[in-house]
Symmetry: C2
Subunit: 405 residues, 2 copies
């Protein structure tokens, strides 16, 4: 059965060259930049109504007409998507931003937003006939892609830094993927994968080297608009490693504007990085359109340890176009923020997500955020995938002991 | 704003004594058995239509009229519920049960089904004025209750076995709860909590010692019916520790029958335990109505390491009444099942949930399950909370190495 996808073609994000959308594609064959999926949004808007969505299942596939998969039978899914948005009233009040919201991507299969990219990316890979894929990862994407690939019957080769969160090794390995560690950072993993992909003719599932992962992540933007009743918050903060999440939300909101489903208002998009790996922030501060490789990068927010993102120019474009900003957060502030959110509002989120709260505090102090604004933090994953960020030493009792001595 | 709850009273599960539903209650004051929440289901069915649910948010609060919280403002929520049901086609085919489904409770805040009980339990605790609660736990319930309690502004004292999954310590501690470990099993933790609760006048949030946790878990049953389009599968398997999940699903289905929302067909309910802690299975094999304390219990499926459940008689009643059964699974079979589900269908679920697949294999071999039956496995949590169940040793590369030598 058809999904009624309105996808028309792929378009190079740099040179605009058009590519076929239903055959295996990687980067632009002209200029090696990422390809973006384009749709006939006028036709989509003419046939699909917002109200049609109301009775659909609460997964990202509710937007199937605006996704690249053509046939329902190729959808590889665990029912992912429509993650909740909840308030953080006490943390918000403490930071002086009472209308503070968290969209919680920890509540997804594999516990991070990476499930979205994997769901759509693997589904389309299956549709165009991929049998084997390779990818470098900081852990979470690898776990997600490996499990979705297993469900699709696609073999995967995953390379991650040795000090990526160990739980992500489990997810990857138990799927039957071939897992390798590298004594280095994600760019080292990327080089190893690049070579293997070229030599073996595999599909390269690296960030933005295939065009469909971003389409999965785009659904975060659709959901935000739908969950805010086809309005948008004033500000959206996003932790930025490879940057696809932020690029994708921006793409989604532009698409919804073109469809007339939301108005002209665009949230200011904030790219949050770690002080130990902040190439986008540095480029933004210098008013540049691209970032430079960040040497010796290091942070406990491991997902954002990306020294040079292929899509850096798209992240910066989204930030500049929306009058957003970019800000770097020290690991100590991130850990404190993680504790504050759990203590005050019961939200145990990952360090990448928690860094956003430290950014909210700083941007409010600087006057960049106003007290009355609606501010949405996009938490990318569950706190429980990062056991090492919580240091505790609870008392040990013996059977029959009293609780309070 | 009112929730329009149709709750009328609490009823003792053993002696039938009626208790007030809007004041702080623990066990039956007559016979110390668990209390069950009762509703005016005729009135609910007269005013609420199945179709009303279609456009409600995808959380367990969509069933608010059938839950015990009276006022919307007391709802303590992270948007939990409406977890996906997906198929496990390859694992199902391999076991000879092609219509095999997983309802995945890993896709909830805190990564397990315990979030449901905590959401409704903490909300109602807030509504009846609780300031401090105490509870023993095998880990996951403690993490969930601690975080929901933090969100509600309720102080909590949590006691868990020293060898409970370490990630659950993080969740509990980061919430600001007072966490204690005990060199023993959950019944040892329960004795310590019982004493502290009595001495300090705290709310006892132990399994079935407060009446509302079961109401949260009941929503699994409502969701199953709604997701199967107001039909039910032929068989539901549930990993059984304290047993509340299974009791609650049975309660939900009986309520839906009384409302006329589902027909007479009741799924056969299967209680799955670990061979190292199988008191319910032993009682069922002996045709008894209650279980005996299981000494020296031990299993890697830590959540079901409950030597004697307070609600054992209710679990057994649900199994007997539905022509279900009870079965114990060896840890080795559970680990193999966990691997199979991830390998064949990409589902990385917790050992408690994985044990259900080993049960499906055995029950099919015994002829108890038929090939054409719709079989639902209720996975209680995410695999990633149990890093120790996956043993791997991936190769370590150096930057510049070749992937395949």
């Amino acid at each position: 059965m058809t999904t009624n996808s309105y996808m028309t073609h792929l378009e190079c994000s740099k040179c605009g060259t058009v590519h076929d959308a239903d055959t295996l594609q990687q980067l632009c064959r002209e200029c090696a930049a990422p390809l973006l999926v384009r749709y006939d949004l006028q036709a989509a808007a003419a046939h699909l109504k917002k109200e049609d969505l109301l009775t659909r299942p609460a997964s990202l596939w509710r937007y199937k007409e605006l996704l690249p998969v053509r046939e329902e039978q190729n959808i590889v899914s665990f029912g992912e998507g429509m993650t909740p948005i909840y308030t953080a009233p006490r943390s918000g009040a403490q930071a002086g931003v009472p209308n503070l919201y968290i969209k919680d991507e920890g509540i997804l299969p594999t516990g991070t937003f990476k499930a979205r990219g994997a769901a759509v990316g693997v589904s389309k890979a299956l549709e165009v006939g991929v049998k084997t894929l390779g990818m470098p990862t900081n852990g979470n994407a690898g776990g997600a892609w490996a499990l979705y690939a297993a469900r699709a019957g696609i073999q995967s080769y995953i390379v991650m830094p040795e000090n990526a969160p160990t739980i992500t090794r489990n997810e990857t390995a138990i799927s039957g993927a071939d897992l390798f560690l590298v004594n280095g950072v994600i760019s080292d993993a990327g080089k190893i994968v690049g070579k293997a992909v070229a030599e073996n003719g595999w599909y390269d599932a690296s960030t933005l080297k295939e065009p469909y992962r971003i389409e999965g992540k785009k659904t975060m933007g659709y959901e935000i608009a739908e969950q805010f009743n086809w309005d948008v918050p004033d500000v959206i903060l996003y932790p930025t490693g490879g940057g696809v999440g932020l690029i994708a939300i921006y793409k989604a909101l532009l698409e919804l504007q073109e469809m007339g489903w939301i108005g002209d208002k665009m949230p200011r998009l904030v790219s949050v990085q770690a002080s130990g790996c902040a190439p986008i922030v540095k480029a933004w501060q210098e008013g540049k359109k691209e970032s430079e490789f960040w040497p010796d990068s290091e942070t406990i927010a491991f997902g954002v340890n990306v020294p040079k993102a292929l899509g850096d120019f798209l992240v910066l474009e989204a930030v500049y176009s929306t009058n957003g900003c970019a800000i770097a957060i020290d690991d100590a502030d991130t850990l404190r923020a993680q504790q504050t959110l759990a203590n005050l509002d019961g939200a145990f989120i990952c360090p990448e997500g928690a860094s956003l709260y430290a950014a909210v505090e700083q941007l409010k102090r600087q006057g960049w955020l106003k007290a009355e604004e609606k501010v949405l933090m996009l938490n990318t994953g569950a706190g429980l995938k990062y056991p090492n960020t919580v240091q505790i030493n609870p008392p040990l009792l013996q059977p029959g002991d009293d609780l309070l001595q």
